[in-house]
Subunit: 223 residues, 2 copies
Amino acid sequence: MDREELKRFFENYPDFWGHLNENEKNFTLETSHCVSYHTGQSVHSSNNRCAGVLFLVNGDLRVYIMSEEGKEVTLYRLSAGDICIMSASCVMDDVTFDVYVDATTDVSAVLLPTSTFSKLQKGNIYIENFSNKIKARRFSDVMWTMQQILFFSFDRRLAIFLYDEYVKNGPIIRYSHLEIARFLGSAREVVSRMLKYFESEGIVTVSRKEIEIIDKKKLKERI
Amino acid sequence: MDREELKRFFENYPDFWGHLNENEKNFTLETSHCVSYHTGQSVHSSNNRCAGVLFLVNGDLRVYIMSEEGKEVTLYRLSAGDICIMSASCVMDDVTFDVYVDATTDVSAVLLPTSTFSKLQKGNIYIENFSNKIKARRFSDVMWTMQQILFFSFDRRLAIFLYDEYVKNGPIIRYSHLEIARFLGSAREVVSRMLKYFESEGIVTVSRKEIEIIDKKKLKERI
C-alpha cells in the first residue's frame, strides 16, 4: 500500500483515525506498513515478539494461552476487518497474562508498530480508550469461551465449532483433528472419537483429509 | 456520608473524580449514596439487579458466572478500595456475558447509580476510558482464574486459595467446604477430600466449623 491507500484503509476505522490530529496522522502513515504471515506462523508470543496492533486485511488469527506443559486453549479467533491488540500486549500494563497469536491461514495486515501505538496511546485519550474498548470486547469473547469450556459438554462444544465453520465456510472443513483439538482446548483422541460418533449419527462424514457436514439440522440440534 | 464526606471519598479516585467538570461533580454528589449488603446477599444478577458502579468502602465481593444447571465459577474477588463495575453491566454494550455479584462479608460501599454512570460515560471520554480500563484489568484477573482452572491441578488451586486466605486473614479460615468449592468452581466432595489429604500431610487441621493452616511452608510448597 502506498501512503494514499494506507490513509484510505485507516479511514475504515473512524474510532481510531477520526481522533488523530494531523501530526498523529502523519506519524501513523510514516510508521505503519503492510505485513504478511503464512499459515501456521507465530505472529506473537509472550517472550519474543510484540510487533504492534494488527489491522487484519485478509486471513484468520488464533489467540490462545498455553500451560507450562504446552497445553493450548484458544481464547478467540479474528478475521478480516478485526483488530488484533494482543500483539502489542507488551505496552499494555493491564494485560498481565501471557498470550500467543498464530496465523491459521495466510494473513495480510496493516501493522501499527508497538512504538507508534504506545506514543499515540500516551498522548491521546481517545486512542487509549480505543485500545481499552477493544480489550473490553475481547474480555466478552473470552468469557464466552470460558463458559463453553467450563459449562458445556464436549459434544456440544464440537457441534458449536462445526456449525460456526459451516456458517462461515460451508460444509467442507479442512482442519485436522489435532487442529480442532487445539481450537477447543482438548486432545486429538477426544475429537476423533466424537467425530466418529457424529458420523455414526449421520451428522458428518469423516475422511483422512476433511470433515463434511451432511446434516446441518441434526448438527444444530446438538448445540 | 454527607456531601462533603462524599466529595472527599471520591477524591481518592483521581482517574474518575479528577476528570469531572463542576456540573458533573455536582450531579455525581447529588445522585450517589451509601449502600450496604449483608453477608451472602446478592448485589447483582444478570436479570434483575443493575444498581450501578460500587466503590467499596468495607467488605468483600465475589464476581462469578453460573451455568444453566447452577454451577458457579468465581471470576475474581474485590475488597475495600476496589471498584465493582460489573454491577453496572446493563449499560455496557461490550459486556455480553451474564455475571453475578454477591457479598461474601458485610459490605458498605458508595453507589454511583447506573443512570448517573451512563450519563457521565456518554458525555466524558475520560469516564468512558476509566470504565474500559477497569474492564481491561478485570480481563487480566479472569485470565488468571482461567489458567488456574484449565492448567493447574486441583491440589495446587486449593493450596493457592488457602495461601491467599492466610496472607489476607491469618491461619483460621471460616468458609465451609461448599463455599470453597464454589469459589474454585468445584464440588464440595472434592474440596473435602483434598482437605483431608492436606490434613494427612500436616498442612492443615480441619474441624466442622473451620480450617486452620498449621504449616505455612508446606502449604507454599504446593503452589
